[in-house]
Amino acid sequence: MFWEHFAVWVAAFLTLGIYSFLYKDNPWYKLCESIFVGISAGYWFVTLFWDNIYGKFWVGVFPPTHVNELGESVRTAQPDYWLLVGAVLGLLMLLRLVPKIGWLSRWSLAFIVGATAGFYLINYFSSNVMRQVQDTIMPLFGSGFDASAYVIIGNIVVAVGTFTGLIYFFFSKEHRGAFGFSAKVGIFFLMVTFGASFGYTVMSRMSLLIGRIDFLLSDWLGLIR
């Protein structure tokens, strides 16, 4: 019983402490901030250890055994020795702690950066470039010239917006004349996009606040039924 009350008060104390930052920086916020940094760093430290080092690596290489109906102990899965590569890369990383051979960690870093570069190169090209170009190319008046005015105008807006927006991103050509005009139109589209996304986000952020205030007013103080 005590712990239930204590828990909700701790949560409320921390919630209000963070909000006090809106007034100004103060000791209450500093306390909450320090707790937050410490707790969250520890949270991820523990989580990564149990999920990745234990759950992924250890269990993967040394699968647990269980006793089946016949009384034999059998492995729940085949050991995956490929995970050892990851362990080597991880250990190389930890060599940072030994100043003399710390540079070996670069091998591990080089591997990660190389894999990331290769993976993103192809993934972004296929899903962003190919896919988005494919979606932009369409019959503007509908297949069979049957689209409504609403859709036709929309289609033209999308085509013009994508086209001019891309022109804005040209780096090696001066934005002058007709080209400059197109780039300018492109900026207009980007501005509308930013405004619209911002407006849309306002809703999301307000919802979060509603959630917090609902916690304070109903879960903590019980003012709302």
């Binding site: 937050f36 990383m93 192809i122 780096f171």
Partner: protein, 367 residues
């Protein structure tokens, strides 16, 4: 018992890594009247051996990929339509016997995914452009690069911190090194650190990932020695806070209001913390330059920072700041890729609008 499926075809699933067979069928004659709820698939290694259930599909479905085959083994398939009343009950063996058998078929792995040939061609064209212009630049050809306001302001921003005798903060995003935006962010950090070293201004880099900590430290150290001031570099300039997105934001907010840096850079991948950081920076009147490739966070940086690098500009930044011909060449190559895309869009729109040819399918990425 619903009428049996009239035709089944089986084939090794093409363009895959093996271990899968594709089964196709025509819907049962009772499908239209609603007499079929699911199709259950059976498999055996011999034509008249024991058939085992391998999966099921909803009515209306006409394909099933059996992903549990062993490469090189011949299989036979049967398919049994089930009415709703039979769901959850054992299928009568007679129904299985009555179904047509298809096969034999065996699965195998392929060495090239032909459905992705268009991606290969596209990537090759783009890479050839980029490499060509990198070589041109190497050979000494002058390349024009337009002004990017946010990057022009970097000098001024660093200079202002020097004048005011205050710190510069550099925030390389909240993602790890397995994100190209983070890599771009720490690359730009190198250029900024060089400037800060020249101006003898303290640059502080709080990071939220340990791999970024390691990388950023190397980069800043290297930048200081490039600027001829290796002794001025301190290990703790680059320090770790927490892996947690909001814990990191809370920590930086506190540091920002207490130390009041004159300049803050945000370069890398950001999520919701973008506005928390940028508004706090704004409230103390710091010059803020941001750059990210996160479309959903750009509006906040645009609203709260003095300069924002929009998407592609972030990736151009390191080339732009370094002024190295090779890097600038790659920007030109990128632009040629863009020009090709623009041409493709115009041609495609014309062809499709007037119903001449379905151009967009050239860009279709496999389902």
């Amino acid at each position: 018992m619903p009428s049996v499926v009239a035709s089944i075809t089986v084939e090794d699933t093409p363009n895959d890594g093996g271990g899968a067979v594709t089964v196709r069928w025509e819907v049962s004659a009772d499908e239209l009247s609603g007499g079929v709820n699911r199709y259950v698939l059976y498999r055996s290694t011999s034509q008249d051996g024991a058939f085992e259930e391998v999966g099921d599909a909803t009515s209306n479905a006409t394909t099933f990929i059996d992903g549990s085959t062993e490469d090189g083994v011949s299989y036979y398939y049967k398919i049994v339509p089930l009415p709703k009343s039979m769901i959850g009950q054992p299928t009568p063996p007679a129904w299985v016997d009555a179904a047509r058998t298809a096969g034999p078929v065996s699965s195998s792995a392929q060495w090239f995914d032909w459905r992705r040939i268009n991606v290969l061609v596209g990537v090759l064209i783009l890479c050839v452009f980029i490499i060509y212009y990198i070589n041109q630049a190497k050979a000494g050809k002058k390349l024009f690069i337009r002004k990017i306001a946010g990057l022009e302001a970097v000098d001024e921003a660093v200079g202002r911190a020097t004048e005011m005798g205050k710190k510069i903060y550099y925030i390389p995003g909240t993602q790890d090194m397995d994100n190209v935006q983070t890599i771009a962010g720490v690359t730009i950090l190198g250029r900024v650190a060089e400037l800060a070293a020249q101006y003898e201004t303290y640059l502080q880099v709080p990071v939220s990932r340990s791999l970024v900590l390691v990388t950023a430290r190397e980069i800043v150290k290297e930048a200081y020695s490039k600027a001829g001031r290796p002794d001025a570099f301190q290990e703790d300039q680059v320090h770790y806070l927490t892996d947690d997105q909001f814990g990191y934001a809370a920590g930086i907010d506190g540091m920002v209001v207490r130390e009041k840096p004159a300049t803050i850079f945000f370069m890398g991948a950001f999520y919701a913390e973008s506005l928390i950081l940028a508004e706090t920076g704004n409230s103390i009147g710091a010059i803020q330059i941001a750059g990210t490739g996160m479309p959903s966070q750009l509006p906040f940086f645009v609203a709260a920072c003095d300069y924002t690098l929009i998407g592609e500009e972030l990736f151009a930044a390191s080339a732009y700041l370094s002024r190295e011909p090779k890097l600038l060449g790659s920007l030109k190559g990128q632009d040629m890729g863009k020009a090709l895309i623009l041409i493709a869009i115009i041609v495609g729109l014309l062809l499709e609008t007037f119903g001449i040819w379905n151009f967009s399918r050239l860009f279709s990425v496999i389902q």
